[in-house]
């Protein structure tokens, strides 16, 4: 008897948590498919109608532009971070020099840093170099703020690579860069994947730098564009829901295809096997 009771209560907890975490998504997606009328008349119905108009109209209103901008700036920033982050991590994890500890601490303490502490100077700098209100204004801050976690993950991983491999390459007359490029980098793939996923998701969703550095719709990224949509869709809730659904789709799809990698990536350095 008590065994059955225990099972039942476990199922109840599991179900309540499923509703809590999952219902907002169901609500968002099902509302996105509703017409205005349906939305007012049947607020709780799930998938009562299958109306694609909302999706078409938000794409027309510039969502595709925001998508393009977000993906472009995110990919460029992540690729640069992977490369220069790996470069910097090499001496920091595998060489002994006087300032090693200081430089390493300077980099990784950036993980604790509130972005606000740099906001005004970055705003002024961006204005001064003439990048204000362009997509490229975001590149510098995005790269800089992704470096701490990336260097943290990469140095942790590089420390585990056996010294012997490097020594052998050195015997063959490899330069440090040769060793980095041909020996270390190929072994770094799992750590680079983590860096890629973590930074991609964080930068794709980044909001505050975009808010401060961009004002015209042509240069807006997705989060900023969504925030802009809000005014235009104040009466058209299904329309806004369609925009939110489309905006959340790419990352949800990536997640469904490679769950374990994404979970590990988002755990950053915190989840170790």
């Amino acid at each position: 008897m008590s065994m059955v009771m225990k099972k039942i209560s476990l199922y109840i907890i599991a179900l309540l948590l499923l509703i809590f975490t999952g219902y907002p998504f169901l609500y968002m997606i099902s509302t996105a498919f509703k017409s205005q009328n349906d939305f007012f008349e049947k607020p709780f119905s799930l998938f009562s109608s299958f109306n694609l108009e909302n999706f078409a109209s938000v794409m027309e209103m510039g969502l595709s532009r925001y998508f393009f901008n977000s993906i472009l700036v995110t990919i460029v920033a992540v690729l640069v971070v992977m490369f220069i982050g790996a470069l910097a991590s090499y001496p920091l994890s595998r060489m002994n020099f006087r300032l090693n500890r200081v430089v390493f601490l300077l980099f990784i303490s950036g993980m604790m840093l509130p972005i606000h502490a740099t906001l005004i100077p970055i705003f002024k700098l961006t204005e001064n170099i003439g990048l204000y209100d362009t997509l490229w204004a975001l590149l510098g801050p995005y790269i800089a703020f992704s470096l701490p976690i990336s260097i943290f993950i990469l140095t942790q991983f590089m420390r585990e690579i056996p010294k012997a491999l490097e020594e052998a390459a050195k015997m063959d007359g490899c330069t440090h860069f040769g060793i980095f490029w041909r020996v270390i980098l190929p072994m770094l793939t799992p750590a680079l994947m983590t860096v890629l996923i973590y930074n991609f998701i964080h930068l794709f969703n980044e909001f505050i730098f975009a808010l401060v550095l961009i004002s015209s719709p042509e240069s807006m990224t997705l989060p900023l564009g969504l925030q802009d949509f809000r005014g235009e869709f104040s009466v058209n809730v299904p329309g806004l829901m369609a925009a939110l659904t489309l905006a959340s789709l790419p990352i949800l799809v990536v997640y469904l295809f490679s769950q374990e990698k994404v979970v590990k990536g988002l755990g950053g350095g915190a989840v170790k096997e």
């Binding site: 099972k7 476990l10 199922y11 907890i13 599991a14 948590l17 809590f20 975490t21 999952g22 907002p24 998504f25 609500y27 607020p43 709780f44 470069l87 910097a88 001496p91 002994n96 020099f97 300077l106 980099f107 950036g110 993980m111 604790m112 840093l113 509130p114 972005i115 606000h116 502490a117 740099t118 906001l119 005004i120 100077p121 705003f123 700098l125 510098g140 800089a144 260097i151 010294k163 050195k170 860069f177 980095f180 909001f207 989060p223 969504l226 925030q227 809730v237 806004l240 829901m241 959340s248 949800l252 997640y255 469904l256 769950q259 979970v263 755990g267 915190a270 989840v271 170790k272 096997e273």
Partner: protein, 313 residues
């Protein structure tokens, strides 16, 4: 690690070069490896922190000449009731993160090991909120909290209660936003705990079962003690994350109504980019940095002493 720098010297193929020269070459190599990352980091992180500190001693609208006013911004800050309530609200975010998000994350992780069906479904769905952008989450919940058409109020009406304007009443707004913060971040702690629970050796449970321990005893005596390091690191992440909070508050309430959900981040943003009090905003920003720094130092020291104690016991 110590020996291999000098190994470069002993290359069979290279001619013998003086020690000074080789150290220089080595330092140059190290410099070239680190420089690209360091330059970007210095321009966009290190120098701006110094600039913020510098600006905080001026009265400045961001355009015209700055006027040096010494510590006046800081004096004003500690007499500014809005700032003080922002500080209190930030503290609430920290407390809710530690005492609601982390326990909920733990419960979610434990459910993934429960002897029931549907684990795979739970595993996917529980994690969803953490993947969505904060802006999208904020907008979604604003619509769900809507006083008339929002699904939450429709449920409230269905149950026969009065509608509540969750986000536009001072006494409910903060709780409403904090619920969303919990919704968004609990899955993150779930994955940390999940990884830790997987790491608990199976033999411990087997031994306990031999002694006739029930589920609760096993949790209290085995699982929980093994999870303490994860709880500690989760709390650190929660504190640091809470100090950075901005997006969700900016989107959902903008700090209102009547500053009841104002946090340091939203207040700093308003002072800087709405009121153009750049000097005053810099003082807020620097204080945010300073608090984060103090928290970091305390955590490092605690970690240091914990390790030191561990060595001797």
């Amino acid at each position: 690690m110590d020996t291999h720098i000098n190994v470069t010297r002993s290359h069979a193929k290279k001619r013998v070069i003086s020690k000074g020269n080789s150290t220089f070459k080595n330092n140059l190599t190290i410099f070239l490896f680190i420089a690209p990352a360091f330059i970007v980091y210095a321009v966009y992180v290190l120098y701006p922190i110094y600039s913020t500190f510098n600006y905080s001693f001026y009265k400045w609208d961001g355009m015209s000449e700055k006027t040096f006013i010494g510590l006046q911004n800081y004096v004003q800050l500690f007499n500014d009731s809005i700032f003080l309530s922002a500080l209190t609200n930030n503290t609430w975010v920290v407390l809710v993160s530690i005492f609601v998000q982390i326990p909920l994350g733990l419960i979610m992780a434990l459910m993934l090991f429960a002897p029931i069906r549907g684990i795979r479904l739970m595993n996917s769905v529980y994690f969803f909120p953490f993947l969505m952008s904060t802006v999208a989450i904020g907008l979604l919940w604003v619509l769900m909290y809507d006083p008339i058409n929002g699904v939450i109020n429709q449920l409230v009406t269905l149950l026969g209660f009065e509608n509540v304007s969750w986000l536009s009443e001072s006494n409910t707004a903060m709780i409403a936003v904090l619920l969303v913060v919990v919704w968004q971040f609990s899955p993150f702690y779930m994955i940390l705990f999940k990884a830790a629970i997987v790491g608990v050796p199976e033999e411990l449970y087997e031994a306990a079962e031999m002694d006739g321990a029930n589920t609760l005893t096993k949790f209290i005596r085995i699982t929980f003690p093994m999870l303490i390091p994860t709880i500690v690191s989760s709390s650190i992440l929660a504190i640091v994350g809470s100090l950075k909070a901005f997006d969700i508050f900016y989107i959902m309430t903008g700090g209102g109504p009547n500053h009841s959900t104002e946090i340091m981040g939203t207040y700093m943003f308003k002072q800087a980019f709405v009121n153009f009090n750049m000097g005053y905003a810099s003082a807020i920003a620097f204080l945010m940095f300073f608090i984060a720094l103090i928290v970091t130092i305390i955590i490092q020291l605690m970690d240091y002493y914990r390790k030191k104690k561990g060595e001797f016991s």
